[in-house]
Amino acid sequence: MDMMVLVQVLESTMRLATPLLFACLAGLISERAGVFDIGLEGKMLVAAFMAASIAFVSGNVWIGVVAAVGVSVLMSLMHGLASITFRGNQLISGVAINFLAAGITVVIAQNWFRQGGRTPSLSGNARMARIDLPFAEALRDVPVIGPIYHGILSGHALLVYVALLCVPLTWFMLFRTRFGLRLRAVGENPAAVDTAGVSVVGLRYAAVAICGVLCGLAGAYLSTGLSAGFVKDMTAGRGFIALAAMIFAKWRPWHALGAVFLFGLLEAVANRFQNIDILGVNLPVQAMQALPYILTVVILAGFVGKAIPPRAGGAAYVKEH
């Protein structure tokens, strides 16, 4: 394959993987603390909407990002209220959040902007600017490094780099800090945390809130970084793909990076190579569109062993019946 094409596909991968990475890490932290979250999709959607509308109104994308994070955390806390405080079913709560997001974003957008459940298109400072990494221009023509640094890594929105940074941060937080130790423990055996004199509820809320922050960034990047405005249902299943990536990664941050890059790459490849002739037979479009999903299953079945979730995941902590 020609070098240019490779660089372009990988650059596209970087963009496509970023929202997945945020959402995947969000789910990872929440589930590591024992709170399952299938509402990633909904939180991303609400955040995408909030980011776009506030960015439009204020003319400053970063205010939009803050608002997106805020509303996403709010949704997270709702999930926390249902599943931690009231020990409700975490899956149902997640499903409800997805429905809620799908409906409420359009209702509010329509009442607010009267553009059919969309926000107006963003431009200028209301959109995330692309950032050129230092020395990108200078290194442009250096072989190997040039294409990688200038072509693939440089020239993305700030949140792309934030997402990448979140991987070591998450890893460090989980495995190198007191908070992380407790967080992992509460997902494995909340009784151990409780008897050690640490609040199970507090830890789980903290995890859920972090999850909200990351989902907020994911949504904000979708609507203000990748596209320029909100469109209903624009998450298009990415929350579920992120969930898949999280399981794929077996709930580990660095593996999550690998998993979302794999998904991003598969999507980028499918976008780029829709019309392929194999031995003179033109594959139907649908085959190419299904290919990323088929490959995911093949890889999962062929190379990734059994994924064991955090042991106390999915269940509320109940001491007495």
Partner: protein, 364 residues
Amino acid sequence: MSKGRIPHWADVTLVPLTSVLLAFVISAILIWAIGESPWAAVKLMVEGAFGSSYGWGYTLFYATNFIFTGLAVAVAFQARLFNIGGEGQALLGGLGVALVCLYIPWPHWSLALIAASLGAAVFGAAWAFIPGYLQARRGSHIVITTIMFNFIAASLLGYFLVNVLRPQGAQDPSSPRFPAETALPKLHEILGVFGIPFSTVPPVNISLLVAVGMCFAVWFMLWRTRLGYQIRAFGESEPAAEYAGISPARITIYVMLISGALAGLMAVNSVMGEQQRLVLNAVEGAGFIGIAVALMGRNHPFGVFLAAMLFGFLYQGGAELALWTGIPRELIVVIQALVILFTGALDNMVRIPIARLFAMRGAR
């Protein structure tokens, strides 16, 4: 924490009813906020869904779809398998129904119904088999594989409809209309036999009886047969199941086959009973609604039936709402979300105060 016990009757009536009420109160505030009358809206919804045999007909029609997909999720959940693939399995079920109805001449609807049900079940089961097999033999997480299979199913159906089933020159990516012999009797015809008048309009048809039958069948299978016993034992405790000589791999595959078959059966109602042809996106998210239905029905077939009725009501009542008021359909999605949230996830928020009330009364 001193907790009284709630009498069983209160737990199954008072708690969910209060929850639904709460959901509606918040919905009412939203409706009011966008400038419509909440009271009129509630009246419209209830009357629209239950006020006439017409409304009932649609409510039951939607409920039928949700019973099938809800049962599919519930059965899998009994074995602690989270089948998110109802959407794809139902799509494939539609393909099965279409092939049976289009390519085999049927003298009478009854034979067509049996064959199409088989077709739907077999195609749905086949689509669930692969994730089931991969989970059982390769440990591939069923949540991922079923999500992926939803996408793959959509592509497969797209291909079939555009390139195979679509009549030459037709604009619509859908199959030709099924022969008239395969048209299923509608509820009004069935009730007519007993002299009960019923609206002829709604598409509710004999599949409703199939769905109710499936509720009983699933209940019977789970609590009255050896297979059901094995499924439940496996779901509750894998080591104990192993100890009992129940093969986890085999049960996983059986359960996914049953689950997929149930999801596939939904097509009998929507594709054969209503559309009479296979169209793009014939499932319309019913597979996902099935997740909510199963969870709210506590994975029990009768609970699934009730939850499906609730969603049938929300769909039909919501349709009437959209029809007669300026309330957008997305707001109806919000109402659904609130109902799911309050009855499914925040039920303890209601249960604890109610329990306290009962404790206070008991103490007096």
